[in-house]
Amino acid sequence: MLEIRHLHVSIEGNEILKGIDLTVRKGEVHAIMGPNGSGKSTLARVLAGHPSYQVTQGEVRYQDKDLLTLAPEVRAREGVFQAFQYPVEIPGVSNAYFLKAALNEQRAFRGQEELDAVDFLETLKQKMKLVEMDSSFANRPVNEGFSGGEKKRNEILQMLVLEPKLAILDETDSGLDIDALKVVASGVNRLRSPDRAILIVTHYQRLLNYITPDFVHVLVDGRIVLSGDKQLAFQLEEKGYEWVRESAAS
């Protein structure tokens, strides 16, 4: 589903990613872990098409398409979703309107009929229950005045409504209390299916207590230095990132 080959990425002339290779197949859940500043979030943002980053080398194939040539909105319509680390507040646009516009653009792209307001609201309410959001959030402006945890739940809500093929979670667990973490995890697990893939970018292992990854990769200084199964996450929790740096150096 996703093939990253020798990816080099810079921002304002500073190279952040220095040759990433990663293959994600349908049905798999991959966790990308690493210390602060290792380039984890850059990887997530580049995949979503954030305009601030320059890809200097390498390629990314997504469902046999050259992902890097696609506009962000086209990537989304092709099924790529990123849960933002810092979701943007958009005053004056209600959550419901925003999500309906997004869903209908995606449906139109796939040749499906637009959902009318009634059907959409029905779907929305259902999914809001799953992430334990009060229905009043539907009419509130997107993320405006939301707490950190509410913003993250809102990202998961969007993911559940849009049902992407490839979901990328960028530090969705940061700043969450244990209850919110469980809600987020159950939302992600609900999406898990044989024809979808999930990429979890995180600093800590604790989210992985609730979402079991098939593969764990450790990113240090713009390179994947270690890959393994879920056991690797436990080792990291126990020994810290210094251990990876040392074992990578040896």
Partner: protein
């Protein structure tokens, strides 16, 4: 009959000279109507106009706006002989389809056949200035031109010199006009003698003590023609009166529109206005509010959506001479193409005006690199126990917000429309009366392609 004083003619300038034969002809016909006071008023105003001419960019208040195109155009005065307009056309041009009270004017002249007023009670007047000049001369004399002085500038002088028609609304003490009143001003240069029409509506709105009214004033055109509307509106709010006022300027894209509105507020009165500019090639609005007595409040909202070569200039002046006055202003603009917009907001707090609460915000969103916005807050505060704030901003669409929308599959154009809508919608949200808010919502929906006005937009207070 009165003849022109030769001294006046001597003082005329090249540009104002064109108006001398027009004024002479006017005096021989329409000008004969009415009492001596109004004829004298017109003559004094015309003398002042001849002498002062149109404002120039050398004057601080007109620095950003050149009225040269208006000055140079040889206008033809609008006449009562109306071009043929069908009821259907009027209905199409009305901003609302509800069965509100309405006065319809074509080129500044009242049209009874298109108008409809169902509310009636003693002393209520919803009618034309032209009728009032004859039948309510004394009542008119105590208000007309008492608030907008003809010597304010060339435009107020010219309007006053040719006072002829407009809306005269008088709500007597302790009454509530339940249904909103629509004032529809339709302009057209069609079927007139060659030349460009100059229409000069003169409106007078008086809301009596403890009375309440809602007025929607709209300026629309039949075709994309060149013409000029030079409007003067005087609004008087007596003690504890309240007026909700919406002004929609949807002139032709080639029209000139100059408006001067003066609001005079007595104790504890409330004036809430929303002024929206969509049309016109050259637009200048002056809105002056005098919070004459204690506890008066005004809420002024403005929205200008410009494109192409449009120039829209909004000047507000709020005068706080007495204590405990409140003024809140929110003016927002979205500028596209090569358009330019000006906001100049002056708040004057006199020494006596303790406990004044005055806030002003102007925000401009530039959608194109060639659009420019000038914003000029001016606060003059001579009292020490006051709360006054102001803020101004000129910016582009937020890149992070655009990316966020796109990352969910929303295309560039739709994303820009959604964010523009959201920016403008803040002004709509300030309107307290739902039916009036809906008017503006519909308009924004039309402009930014939202499929349904109701949902999508954030309702209620944030």
């Amino acid at each position: 009959m009165v003849t022109m004083n030769p001294e006046i003619l001597d003082k005329k300038t090249k540009e104002t000279g064109k108006y001398v034969p027009l004024f002479e002809a006017f005096e021989k016909t329409e000008g004969k109507r009415g009492a001596a006071w109004i004829r004298k008023l017109r003559q004094n105003a015309f003398a002042h106009f001849c002498h002062s001419g149109f404002p120039t960019q050398r004057e601080e208040d007109w620095r950003y706006t050149s009225v040269g195109p208006i000055e140079r155009t040889p206008f033809h005065l609008a006449s009562e002989t109306l071009p043929h307009i069908t009821v259907q056309a009027v209905e199409r041009l009305r901003p609302c389809t509800l069965n509100w009270n309405r006065l319809v004017f074509v080129n500044g002249f009242f049209c009874r056949e298109f108008s409809h007023v169902s509310d009636a009670f003693e002393d209520l007047n919803i009618g034309s200035v032209r009728e009032a000049i004859v039948s309510k001369s004394n009542q008119l004399a105590s208000y007309l031109a008492q608030y907008v002085r003809y010597d304010q500038n060339g435009f107020t002088a010219l309007n006053t010199a040719f006072i002829q028609d407009g809306a005269f609304v008088y709500v007597p003490e302790g009454k509530v006009l339940e249904r909103p009143l629509e004032l529809v001003f339709i302009s057209t240069s069609r079927e007139t003698v060659s030349g460009t029409v100059l229409a000069q509506p003169r409106n007078l709105i008086v809301v009596g003590p403890s009375s309440r009214a809602t007025i929607v004033e709209s300026y629309v055109s039949i075709d994309q023609e060149t013409y000029c509307n030079n409007v003067v509106t005087e609004i008087i709010l007596e003690e504890s009166a309240s007026l909700e006022y919406l002004r929609l300027q949807k002139e032709s894209g080639r029209a000139y529109h100059v408006s001067t509105t003066k609001v005079n507020q007595a104790k504890d009165s409330v004036f809430s206005s929303t002024c929206v500019d969509l049309g016109g090639i050259l637009v200048r609005n002056d809105l002056h509010v005098d919070l004459q007595e204690e506890g008066a409040k005004c809420f002024l909202n403005g929205l200008y959506l410009t494109s192409n070569e449009q120039h829209v200039d909004n000047h507000t002046l709020i005068n706080h001479p007495r204590p405990k006055g409140t003024s809140q202003q929110l003016y927002k603009g979205i500028l596209d193409g090569r358009s330019t917009a000006v906001f100049s907001g002056k708040i004057f707090v006199h020494q006596d005006a303790q406990k004044t609460d005055a806030h002003q915000t102007n925000k401009n969103l530039l959608l194109s690199e060639e659009a420019t916005a000038d914003t000029k807050p001016q606060l003059e505060i001579y009292a020490d126990d006051v709360k006054c704030t102001h803020g101004a901003a000129v910016g582009q669409l937020d890149k992070d917000s655009l990316f966020y929308l796109k990352s969910r599959g929303i295309g560039e154009n739709e994303a820009r429309n959604i964010l523009s809508y959201a920016f403008a919608n803040e002004v709509a949200q300030r309107i307290k009366i739902p039916s009036i808010r809906a008017q503006l919502n519909d308009l924004l929906t039309e402009r930014y392609g939202h499929r349904s006005a109701g949902e999508g937009v954030h309702h209620g207070s944030a």
